[in-house]
């Protein structure tokens, strides 16, 4: 695209002429990331102070120039490529750690801070930042937020999403907003996580930090089969042991790694599990015994505990899986797919079959705890036939994930490379909602365009067949009738006391617990189920949720904003929009980085953006102290809310409650 001279002049005034580059070399050096895509931008803007971002975006908005933010550019899905050309904003120089507050447990950072550098800064203070993406030595915290990055420690500590407290966002029109999780209303910060820079550019982050763990114990366990390995993980969860890492490799990968740099990995085992426990010494002893016992039950071939040196060697061996592949051929495509943990053995077998059928060398690593796996495919990108074959195989692997109820991305994001696959993962209504979100934030489609949302998806999506005998179907019809009256109403739970009955639309008839899954440790229940009903049903199976008992409905708990800590436990959702359409997101997945995080859009939205009809969330084998409710705060209608409300509910039918009505 042509960048007008006046725009360049304005940009040079804003950031200095040496920081605006249009020459061939600079432009071509910003045309790639770690993915297969190469797309040429038109201008590179090096940002040196965070205050420059808003000024630059205002200029780009004024001249309708699309822009993409970039720092480490370690992305595997082409999220920082520029299909429409335009500007690349290089934020890598924003490397200041502005504040470390160990008393309140947070840090204030700029987006260009490298993840590992934050860790180094916190270590002497006795604190750590939990998300640990594999590329943490070079990836930046801004990029982590954009991709909702996570790593080996995700199972216990969660991903970036769970550690961002506040974000300063520059919207695509140049306006600056500070979004905080303390404010009532949808979890905007959560929505930003994994949005791949399509909703704006973050210039400052407030992140949660944790006190350093007392002790870490590392174990290397080998199994005959993948099934035994995954069963061990399930059994450990059942016993209430949540290790901080559970990294696994299949036999072929172990053999390749051992050939390159022997580290004492068991080459004859069907699966090798690298497990780490952390915590206080007293608890660790108990947990270690349980791990040992569970491994024995599941026919573990060997169980070895490491000293410090050996642990480093094993972790090095795990990292060597990538190095081994990188030395076999010029390029390595790191795929990323996630399935419910129970589906992991079958999916991995299918993936191996696909690789063998297509004669592709690959290692297969997986985070056994959360069903996330990374086949690393070796190829030479200079060979177009090989490249096409690799792309085809990568798609086949992702299709296998989808068939197993999984997602096309657990932590790498969608970018340009996987966006066509989203049409196979979500129905049209869900993708429409993604488009609405994007349009609300960025009506001119300037921020990182052509990402996430598939092109012409209406023709490609596979619409879910309506089950007319289903309670949800009846409820949807009733909701449509209500909408047809075009009279404003409140969404309520079972116990709402309202002045006028006409203004009330209750979810109380949705009172079924549809699934309690003791393999993946999830429960799926409809929005009208009360907390007491839920607790009783779970107790029968010897499991617990983090919610207290009471008369409140599940939908109310999720939407009212009174239980913000509950959001981290929710993994899937079904909701009806003010248009009458039905959206589905997530499922029994611990990780999902495909598309906008709809869980966080509806969480705390107080029923104003749609009706949550069904939720899937985590359950536990051990009873933990239940969450306590915070006071109800009426929703704050900030600019973002108004825009989204206008997109989803232009007639303003779903009213904003002034008091807690959705209990």
């Amino acid at each position: 695209m042509h960048i007008p001279t006046s725009a360049l002049r304005a940009l040079r005034r804003a950031v200095g002429s040496q920081n605006v580059c249009t020459d061939d070399v600079s432009v071509l050096l910003h045309a790639y990331d770690c993915s297969l895509s190469r797309m040429r931008p038109d201008v590179i803007i090096h940002i040196t102070k965070s205050g420059q971002v808003a000024r630059v975006i205002k200029i780009l908005h004024q001249f309708h120039i699309p822009f993409v933010a970039r720092a480490g550019a370690t992305n595997h899905a082409g999220s920082c490529s520029t299909p429409k050309g335009g500007a690349v904003l290089n934020l890598a120089a924003l490397t200041n750690i502005l504040q470390i507050n160990t008393q309140e447990g947070y840090v204030l950072v700029e987006p260009g801070v490298v993840t590992a550098q934050l860790g180094q800064a916190l270590e002497p203070l006795g604190f750590f930042y939990a998300p640990d993406p594999a590329s943490q030595k070079v990836c930046t915290l801004g990029g982590n937020l954009a991709q909702n990055a996570s790593g080996a420690r995700c199972l216990k500590y969660g991903g970036t999403l769970d550690h961002v407290l506040e974000a300063t966002l520059v919207l695509p029109n140049g306006e600056t907003l500070t979004l905080s999780r303390q404010e009532s209303g949808p979890d905007w910060v959560g929505l930003l996580c994994g949005s791949e820079g399509t909703l704006g550019i973050v210039t400052q982050l407030k992140l949660k930090i944790l006190p350093a763990v007392q002790e870490v114990r590392t174990f290397l366990i080998s199994f005959n089969t993948l099934e035994d390995c995954v069963q061990t993980v399930t059994d450990l969860t059942a016993q209430g042991v949540i290790p901080r890492c559970m990294e696994a490799m299949d036999q072929l990968t172990t053999q390749t790694v051992e050939q390159m740099a022997p580290a004492g990995l068991p080459v004859n085992a069907g699966a090798t599990l690298l497990l780490e426990l952390d915590g206080e010494k007293a608890t660790l002893g108990k947990e270690e015994k349980i791990v040992q016992q569970v491994c024995r039950q599941n026919h573990a071939l060997a169980f070895e505990k490491a000293g410090d040196e050996k642990a480093v060697k094993w972790w090095h061996a795990r990292q060597n899986a990538y190095n081994a592949m990188a030395r076999l051929a010029p390029n390595v495509l790191v795929c990323d797919g996630t399935v419910p943990r129970s589906e992991l053995p079958a999916t991995l077998k299918k993936v191996r079959q696909i690789l063998e059928q297509n004669n592709i060398t690959a290692s297969l690593l997986f985070h056994a705890g959360d069903g996330n796996f990374h086949p690393q495919l070796v190829f030479d990108e200079r060979n177009s036939i090989e490249r096409q074959r690799i792309s085809k195989v990568a798609k086949l692997i992702l299709q296998t994930c989808l068939e197993a109820g999984g997602t096309v991305s657990g932590e790498h994001g969608v970018g340009v490379e996987k966006r066509s696959m989203l049409a196979l993962q979500y129905n049209q209504d869900t993708l429409d909602l993604f488009s609405h979100i994007k349009h609300a934030f960025d009506p001119e489609n300037l921020a990182n365009p052509c990402k996430i949302i598939p092109v012409d998806y209406a023709e490609k999506t596979i619409g879910a067949a309506d089950n007319k005998a289903d309670k949800l179907y009846d409820f949807q019809q009733k909701f449509k009738q209500q909408l047809a009256q075009e009279k404003p109403f409140f969404v309520t739970g079972t116990n709402a006391v309202l002045q006028t009955q006409e203004k009330n639309f209750s979810v109380k008839e949705l009172n079924e617990i549809t699934d309690i899954d003791l393999t993946n440790y999830t429960v799926t229940a409809q929005a009208g189920v009360t907390l007491t009903q839920l607790a009783r049903a779970l107790k029968k199976h010897g499991v617990y949720s983090v919610l207290p008992e009471g008369n409140e409905t599940l939908g109310g708990v999720f939407s009212s904003g009174c239980y913000p800590a509950f959001y981290a436990h929710v993994t899937g959702l079904q909701a009806l929009l003010p248009s009458g359409s039905c959206v589905r997101y997530g499922g029994k997945l611990t990780k999902n980085a495909a598309g906008y995080n709809l869980l966080r859009l509806f969480a705390g939205a107080q029923g104003t953006l749609g009706i949550v009809t069904e939720l899937t969330f985590k359950i536990y084998a051990v009873k933990a102290p239940p969450l306590t409710a915070t006071a109800f705060v009426p929703l704050i209608q900030n600019e973002l809310f108004k825009q989204i409300k206008k997109e989803l509910d232009p007639k303003n039918l779903l009213q904003i409650p002034e008091k807690k009505v959705h209990v």
């Binding site: 061939d24 071509l28 050096l29 770690c34 370690t74 590992a116 190095n323 030395r327 010029p330």
Partner: protein, 436 residues
Amino acid sequence: MFNDPCLEPLFPRKHLSELQTALGTKTLYNSVCACNRCGVCAAVCPTYQLYHQENFSPRGRNQILRLCLEGKIKLNKKNRVLHEALVSCTLCGRCNEVCAAQVPTAQHVLEMRRALGLRVLPRLLQRFLQLRDNKPRLFNVLARTSLILRRLWVVKIAWLLQITHLPGLTWINHLDDILPARIIPLAKVLANANVQANQENPQLIYLPSLEAEFILPDIALDTLRLAQKKYRTETWQNTTTGLFPYVYGDLRQSRKMLRKLLARHAKTGNGKLPLLTDSIDVYLFLKRAPQLFSGRKLWQKRAQNLAQNLLFVTDIFPVNTDDKTTQNPGPVQLEYSALFERQGPAFEKAEKILAILFGKNFVKCFYTDADTPAFGYTFVAPKNATRMSLKTVEKIARSQTKQVVTLSGLAALELAYALKKFYPAAQATHFVHVNR
């Protein structure tokens, strides 16, 4: 399978036809295409850490070469961005160390510099140093004359008259700053210490580096003392290796110098004598020497023979657990400043020896810690070099290190100057002086 494009097909001898990489011999194109663009190298690259721009990252430099080979970027000497990206590289090889595919970015940068004919040292300094290769006698005379003039305060007067502030002459000030106040000729130093440079029936050849021969004769003295404890030694003074033209000049010139050295080595003791050097830069260059002669079997064989018989001062350093220093010297660090790589047997041996000698006082460095830029970088990009040296001093001060051990005399000179300026509590010394 693929056509292997060359940077300058009309001048193949100006370039290495094959690179000797950690994963075997590769053509330039195959070597650069092994970069998977993962970007891990940026975390350790000293220039990327200064600028945070892709142009200054190893990944960016590799992509520039690839795009040049594929004809997507034209090699143009006047292209400022291209020039900056290539000249700014310190050739330290840290990127190679962390790279999963062991891509030799420093070698790639040198190839591009050769294609562009980049003159990276100040012209006068380059001409002066070239004399050592072409006209060693004249170089000796000029070097001594310059030192006499320096002792006569000529440089200070030139500085006062602002002559050395003129473009192209500013390097003189820096050179004056880093050089020791008084430089004693090597012959005199050896005579005073009653050390013979050449012994009969030699078992080892000592090849003093430029700095050991002309600036820091103590390095040559201590190296000879160490060597002569075990071997009868012959010293090859006024012998060039071809390292200078390899980095800053013409590869053909470098090959010529190297051939002279190889021929002399082949003649002396049937080419079986070990060759000792006191400079890590020379050591690493000679280890890579065979790649300069791909396709020329005789010379390649000789270069391989030399590489096999090459010794660094760490190889002859007598050390056992009893040698542990009884005095408490305070924290000691090893400085990894070198050309082409920051890991390998020489570094490991140095670490081991220091760990034995200083025990807990030996402070290990982190992989991202800064190093002093090596081999003349301060004259190539003085601003970058100052910022990098400051970061190095910061690292040293953070651990309250008292002594920093370098593996080359030039690095010791640069670091000693930076320490004197910003952290005088620490001192920089060459490895051979450690147990003096």
